[in-house]
Amino acid sequence: MILKKKVPLIDQHDKYGFWGGKFGGSYIPETLKKPIDDLTISFNKLRKNKIFLKKKNFYFKNYIGTPTRFIKLENLSEHLGGAQIWAKVVSDANGGAHKIYNATVHALICKSMGKKYIVGDTGAGYAGKMLSMAAKKFGLKCKIFMGAKDIKRQKPNCDAMRKNGAEIIPVTTGSQTLVDAVSECMRYWVSNCDTTHMCVGSTVGPNIFVKICGWSTSQISKELKIQIKNEFKKIPNKIKLINCVGGGSSAYGFWSEFIDFPKKQIELIGVEAGGPKKSKLHAAPLSKGAKLGVLHGAASYVCQNLEGQINETESISAGLDYPGVSPIHCFLKDTKRAIYTYATDEEALKAYKLVTKFESLNPSLEPSHAFAEAIKISPKLTRDTIVIVNSCGDAKKDRDILKMRLKTI
């Protein structure tokens, strides 16, 4: 399995849509073949179309707000006394998380394909909130599929969706979390694909959705590369880019411009959700060695049993609480370009506590998993190591959980 240089990772798949010959693809019902082909053709045209790109850049700049800040966490670095810890504050983006990039691009594609309805899945509620914002902005009617458990635990984002005029469809099957929301959203699309566009909220799902999402979030590392050069005059010799991984859209976006660098110079570290310390359940297919399987139209490492039934997952972070992961991260794992680990619920909470104590930053539970890893490794590193964490979401949505759980930590 070989990683190519100078070709965006999202384009390094074969004609059937597989990365490394085995991750990804499009395992879809026949009914979706045509809409997915149509979307693939449209996207391939649009990403080369100057007018579309101009429009995208305009909205990224003026609607999403680019670039998001790149800041040094002086106090935290001082406290831990090792590497320099920096943050890319992606939660500065309109709406408070990186999900706005993918949502905006999907809304623009939907419009240019002449569709008036858009649907999407959400776990933490950010993908849903952002899609509802983009739908409102571009005059589309929007439905969001969300697990009933997540509706309860991410209320602030649900309020935002409703305020934006989106309809939230509660999903009450299975574990009532993101995995069920994605399934239900796909089912809805099977029945309505003639009038409706579907947005998948992360770099998961059939090949084309991985590509569109990765293409959108790559904005993060494009900005970061310039910011690093401005800050350090050149790309420093020891960088670690730490990102949480649910589906993997923020991690891919954070890394995409740096994949061609030698891994000795720029290390890529993905942090999955280890779940409660005392539980057997988790949402960490990469770092806990899950087997290859097919979920939601793509082959990837999936938490599953021997019969191929998808396992229940558990995580304090709704955004990471997903049994599968992007095929491109499976590819990065097997080519050894990135390494993957996990943080438990408790570690993420502790990290949140520490970060917010020392810095005026309010990372949601998802990036708190990434901070947990940064906090773990930084003290052992030297001052000239630059640890950068993608602070990809704002914790406003986690208000209730934090209030309840911080007392116990």
Partner: protein, 266 residues
Amino acid sequence: MSSPIRVAFEKANKENRPALLTYTVAGDSNKKISLNILKRISDHVDICEIGFPHNTPIADGGQIQTSSYRAIKKGIKINDIFEIVKNYKKIKDAKPVILMGYYNMIYQYNENKFLRKCKESGVNGLIVVDLPWPENINFANKCKKNLVSFIQLLSPTTSLKRLKKIIKDSHDMIYYISMLSTTGGKLKVSPKQILSNYQRIKKIDNKKKCVIGFGITEKNIDKLKSADGIVCGSIICKEITKSITLGQNPVTNVSKLVKKLKKKII
């Protein structure tokens, strides 16, 4: 040599009626009941489709999901499913069996082992919902080598060019999905429209047996009887659910329902 699936169609054709195909989920509501249902409906049915239940079914509606979750909760395993088929096949005049499900389960079980088990237990055909053409070409060939028909799916969204290629690569039987829907949706296209799409398929290759499924109920089944075959699935799963809710015997109720469906097409 004619395959059992083909023979089943020929028999129905001689009787001047479409073949009746039923879909039930293996292990719904438990192993014994699902086997008994198959045995009891067998005389009225031409081909039995049996679902191997998956807990993340991206193309199934509420009724089949409910049946699937029920079976999984009862602990149904793939080997149990083969056992059900094997036991069903022991009865006199057992009908051809088509297994239907999602690719991940076949993949985890191992393709070759799965097909070997199919052959051993008497499975005649296979429908894999999320393995479309052309991705399925290799696996379909493997099926053929094991004397298992791989059944290609066609949908209203399938272009003419694609239809031709898929039909060319298909085995005895093809399955036309009546409308844009998951299983169990309300029929939102007129039977006339469905039959006109069906004719488009038959025109490409009249010899391939084409069944129509999705959204078929007692109310509309007679309007589609000019097709080679008709599949009833969700309506049967719903009957099982209803029987359980009412504390009635699902075996009796399903068999009554299947008889009723059969009457409408003779």
